[in-house]
């Protein structure tokens, strides 16, 4: 049992290192861009909305409000879309008996999560350093929220990977289906202030809960009336379970391809 665990850790460790090299290339510039790009994305929104004279919907920092929405959404989307192509990208690895397809999924998820941890630390750290925002008020909640993003993103990513291996058009369908996420997840507004009719529908969207949870952790008094932690947690677990069952059921089919 113990040796199985060390084997698993060894394989995942080696895969993460390999994946790092494949994702960022050999230059340090690759790492730099990976960290700077999402931050610049937020900066562009802040500049545009700032120029339009928009006040932050909550708190005093437009940058902080948008970042808590945008970075969370991007982290989730990165997981759910990058995991989708894992099976095709790692086919050659299955030559080695000790590597299973689930290892390639988990190691990719680990690498993306580690990258976003750095991105967030750098981004929020910079905001705090230049006194554009106060430090997070409930770091414990922030950490749990971070893990929830990992869990949901990984679960949806695995489901996507399985779907893509069954039906190759899935990547297009998925990109169309998830396009409204930026509008319906509360990135640019406070969901609690929406009319009840809209909320009744939007509160089924798990990504909205991710962002609400993250903001609850960051701000001292965000007081979300929408956030339902149990719903999000159960949803994420269920999706992960569906993904893993799907992977198991379609494994033989992929081997024959």
């Amino acid at each position: 049992m113990r040796s199985l665990l060390t084997l698993q850790l060894r394989v995942i460790g080696a895969l993460v290192l390999r994946e790092t090299r494949a994702t960022f290339g050999t230059s340090q510039l690759g790492y730099l861009w990976a960290i700077v790009t999402p931050a610049l994305g937020v900066a562009v929104f802040v500049l545009v909305f700032g120029a339009a004279g928009r006040r932050p919907p909550f708190g005093s920092s437009l940058a902080l409000f948008f970042a808590t929405g945008l970075l969370t959404l991007e982290f989730y989307k990165k997981l759910s879309t990058s995991l989708m192509t894992t099976f095709n990208a790692n086919k050659a690895l299955l030559t080695y008996p000790c590597i299973k397809e689930t290892d390639t999924l988990f190691s990719r998820s680990l690498l993306i999560s580690a990258t976003y941890l750095v991105i967030m630390l750098v981004f929020y750290g910079t905001l705090v350093l230049f006194q554009k925002a106060s430090p997070p008020h409930h770091p414990d909640q922030l950490i749990v929220a971070f893990f929830m993003i990992c869990l949901l993103g990984t679960g949806v990513g695995i489901v996507n990977a399985v779907m893509l291996s069954i039906w190759e058009s899935w990547s297009y369908v998925e990109s169309i289906l998830t396009r409204p996420l930026i509008i319906i997840s509360g990135v640019f507004y406070i969901p609690s202030s929406l009319p009840p009719a809209a909320l009744n529908v939007l509160q089924w969207n798990p990504v909205l809960h991710l962002i609400e949870w993250f903001r609850t952790g960051y701000y001292s008094n965000y007081n979300s009336t929408v956030l339902n932690k149990e719903y999000l947690f159960l949803f994420a677990l269920l999706i992960l379970l569906i993904g893993l069952i799907g992977e198991r059921l379609t494994r033989k089919r992929r081997a024959g391809q």
């Binding site: 084997l7 460790g13 030559t95 008996p97 081997a255 024959g256």
Partner: protein
Amino acid sequence: MIELINVSKVYSLKGIRKVIFENLNFRFEQGRNIAIMGPNGAGKSTLLRLIAGTEQADRGRISRNVCVSWPLGFAGGFNGSMTGLENVRFVSRIYGQDTEWVIDYVEEFSELGKSMRLPIKTYSSGMKARLAFGLSMAIDFDCYLIDEITAVGDANFRRKSKQALEQKLDHSRIIMVSHSQETIKSYCDCGLLLTHEGLTYHDDVESLLRAYNESCA
């Protein structure tokens, strides 16, 4: 010790069903070097992949209590955009080996020189095979699964590979797929003949080769 218990394997693609094995039972005895021979398409490579565990049986069970290599013989496990060095490092990591030692060994053995620092996609097939063979020799397995690779490279490299493999035979066993009677004779002491009718075991190589020649005739 490797044992196949009621193993069945069927490939079906585009509505065509092809039964490769049905309720196959076999015990690979410890201490024997086993040849697998048979006509093309009989399932020799599939059997090797089942033993390695890179492919799953549809039914039945394969039990192994020894450390088995991956099926050696093709460079399928290499990532083309990564350098030879990076690929070697990766494989030695997943097998928990001393990475630096493995790199030194493979550099010495494969004679690739500076090419080790170039992406695999720039390699010729001979270079890839040399890298793959050197890498597999750097790791100690109890049982090496070999799929037609001993005829790689020039005479010098072939001599070297033969030497390395013979050295391994002091404490490891091999299961080898080959069409070459020469190769089989020099490495194996018993064998399996795999035909479309099924599988037969031969306790000595002469009887295996005779049966193989009859089945091809």
